[in-house]
Amino acid sequence: MLLGKTLVELKELIDSKEISPDELFKYFMQRIKKYNPKLNAYLTLNKDVDFKNSGVLGGIPLAIKDNFCTYGLRTTASSKVLENFIPPYESTVTARLKKENAVFLGKTNMDAWAHGSSTETSDFGATKNPWDLTRVPGGSSGGTACAVSSYLAPGGIGSETAGSIRQPAAWSGVVGLKPTYGRVSRYGVIAMGSSLDCPGPLTLCVKDAALILGVIAGHDSMDATSSPRSIENYLEALKQKKSYTIGLCDDYFEGLDRDVLNAVEKSIEVFKKLGFKTKKVKLLSPQYAISVYTIIQRAEVSSNLSRYDGIRYGNDRRSFGDEAKRRIMLGTYTLSYGYYDAFYKKAQKVRTLIIEDFKRVFTEVDFVIGTPTPITALKLGEFEKYPFFGELMDKFNEPGAMAGIPGISLPVGLDRNGLPIGMQLMGSYFREADILNAAYLFEQETDYYGVIKKGIHNYE
């Protein structure tokens, strides 16, 4: 039985020749054919695949978010503007995965240009939450989260600007890791907020996240913002049994749904049982990070989307959807003459305060605990009612995103409606190994209360 096997387990099966990469690929393709029509996780399926057993990921099939340029494989960022765009080049992340002989099942749906937290802004229809088809999977990496949660892929790649990996991981009930900004190359990732964007894995377990991070992380000479710092052996790091101090900040427990709050509190007890210490900390209220994030991200969006003129590729600017236009308009406003100092420059100053704030707290504690999202998955259509709602929903991810620090979201239970709840640990710069280590200890202790397994078994 292959159902629910993790990347590490599948790799063992391939290595021991119990299954061949093409059989594995076909297995997932069949599942995709069966379930994708109602889930809409994938936009484009891959046909041109080269199977090789060698390499860290030899023969492992993965789902790739549709904002990673893949040579010869349509890449749309879920926007009509790029509906026929076939990249003549490969993103660094997908190139590194291919180099280890991973195979791509296809490109997954997302909010158009990654603008959103539900996949509903996709020009190719929303992805459904595998736990409840009347709900959204979260976003913007909702397609990958859905595919992994319903086992239409054993693992996948998403990207975050502020919450776009962790929030869909929470709502779809999988593991989502957002690395430090600069740890994973952005080259070939269709830019959203250039000073924030960060690729990362969505997986069924922490080991898989460590495995993928080990492949995609590391310096890239094509991305001037990628860190030259050498990468750690993330899989080895899981073998340690370290004791950490977890920071508790009141602001990060404010406005949480009671089931979410209970689940996070229960997680804190688990960590205490594992020998972790806790400490109260004070951080700048996330309400400022929402503003900083809104200003900087919109400014960068308005700039990054200005290349789409329909001349060299894609359709022209009339093809932009509502959300993209709204963001371009605000970004254009905050950068325009006479407003720059009041908005953009002010935001960059407050960003400094946010960074200093985290740096100070991380001298006291190893992690700050919380949730990537105050509530569980919303019904389709809820987001549209409030244009600014997504930013409020992502308020616990925005401070960390502005600072560029890493974080992980783990499933920690189900709410009263049977929907997954996410808990997150945020750590200091380049502390991915410690974050993964702590998450792994938690996983060993709880097995996520069976959440991930239950999700998959909904799609036997």
């Binding site: 269709i190 250039s194 700039s303």
Partner: protein, 444 residues
């Protein structure tokens, strides 16, 4: 009598001759290459592509800054400048806004004709990228991205110019300096040097010093683009001075706008008025970390500069006692100046060597050593054929009885005529002193 003083500032763009483009590894020598053969995701502005700056280009822009006597900033960064045009791949140009690599420079230019020196302020020198090349044919415009992303340096001057001649003189000097640095061809025809003067007219009042005060500059400015020769710059400025004077004479103010230069009709024409002026929405380029330079490094940039033309002129005059006008000519190219210096270091006759080079008496294609040999042959005291001289002197005296008698009557200066006649007959192959001596002996 003119009632107005022209106030002119310049923006000059210079393409660097680096091997690679500014933000990608594509080749930068786009001239005469097949369209779109030198592109990559970065310079084509494909989704997801990211810029990485070319180290040498930054070293070179700092070199230019230092050569123009600028202060090199210890902190610098790139910014995005937004506008929409088909030649701009990303919808923004990576440029520099408030932290250019070099600021506050000065260039002193000597005018060899009237032996005056003038000095002009440099506001800033910054680094940016060139755009794609547009060609207009029939009903279409065609875009070639080979030029997209080629390193481009922008030099901005203070509005220190008051006539077209000074502008031309300055630009010629700037071109020479840039070529000395060996960082650009600075070839206007090929487009590797481009200039955009901005011109306005200031009414003359009693206090002439006021034109130097920025706050009292005219309240409009006309920028002229598309000029590809020094001659056209001069013509465009002169045309604008005339055009704006006529408008001001009617009691109106010229429109602030960008105008183009039509070199067939010899006039400027309106391209874009201020109403449509762009709001470039500058912000720091998030894809490129900042630049921070150590003081030692920046000092070294200045120290490692070659000797510049103006310094050479001063040295030639002071050390070689060469005429200023000759020093100017000799320093117009670094190659020529260095050749001159090599020859002088061997022959030790600077002014004569200067004359021989400038008058093209000896080819500078020769090695400096060969050149010196020829110099020696031309300048060394003449070996005189004594017998031939004696005969020639006698014949000259016989042929010019009137002159000889004039001399004897006391008109001493006619001797020079006789010397000249002898020299002519000897075809110059005689020592003039000896000729003089022989003539005197034979006359008496």
């Amino acid at each position: 009598m003119n009632k107005y003083i022209p106030v002119i500032g310049l923006e000059i763009h210079v393409e660097l001759k680096t091997k690679s483009k500014m933000f990608c590894q594509c080749r930068a020598d786009y001239f005469a290459k097949k369209p779109n053969t030198q592109t990559c995701p970065v310079c084509l502005g494909l989704p997801g592509a990211l810029p990485v700056p070319n180290k040498k280009a930054i070293e070179w822009v700092q070199k230019i800054g230092a050569a123009l006597d600028c202060k090199l900033r210890p902190h610098s960064k790139f910014d995005r400048k937004h506008y929409n045009y088909p030649d701009l791949a990303k919808g923004y140009q990576i440029s520099q806004y408030d932290e250019p690599f070099a600021v506050n420079g000065r260039v002193t230019v000597c005018n060899p004709r009237n032996k005056t020196k003038k000095s002009f302020g440099i506001t800033r020198v910054h680094m940016e990228e060139d755009t794609a090349k547009l060609t207009h044919r029939g009903s279409g415009t065609y875009v070639n991205f080979n030029r997209s992303g080629v390193p481009l340096v922008e030099i901005v001057t203070e509005p220190d110019f008051h006539n077209a001649d000074d502008v031309k003189m300055f630009l010629e000097e700037l071109q020479v300096i840039i070529r000395y640095l060996d960082v650009s061809d600075a070839d206007m025809e090929k487009g590797s040097m481009r200039m955009e003067p901005n011109i306005s007219l200031q009414k003359i009042t009693n206090d002439r010093s006021q034109i130097t005060k920025k706050s009292e500059l005219p309240n409009y400015k006309v920028e002229v683009k598309n000029i590809n020769s020094f001659r056209f710059v001069k013509q465009a400025i002169e045309y604008e001075i005339k055009r704006q004077t006529e408008i001001l004479e009617k009691g109106k103010t010229p429109v602030q706008e960008t105008r183009g230069w039509d070199d067939k009709k010899n006039k400027t024409y309106s391209q874009r008025s201020k109403e449509e002026a762009q709001d470039y929405r500058y912000f720091p380029e998030p894809d490129i970390p900042p630049f921070i330079f150590e003081e030692n490094y920046l000092d070294e940039v200045g120290v490692s500069l070659p000797e510049l033309p103006q310094e050479k002129i001063d040295r030639y005059i002071a050390d070689y006692k060469v005429r200023e006008s000759d020093a100017f000519v000799l320093t117009r190219s670094r190659k020529l100046a260095e050749y001159f210096e090599k020859v002088v270091s061997i022959s030790k006759k600077p002014q004569q060597v200067a004359n021989l080079i400038i008058n093209k008496k000896i080819s500078i294609d020769l090695t400096p050593e060969k050149f010196c040999q020829k110099v020696e042959a031309l300048l060394s005291p003449k070996v005189t054929d004594r017998k031939m001289l004696s005969e020639t002197v006698k014949k000259t005296i016989v042929d010019n009885p009137k002159v000889v008698s004039d001399y004897k009557a006391g008109k001493k200066n006619v001797l020079m005529f006789l010397v000249g006649q002898v020299m002519k007959a000897m075809k110059g192959r005689a020592d003039a002193n000896l000729v003089r001596q022989q003539l005197l002996e034979n006359i008496l």
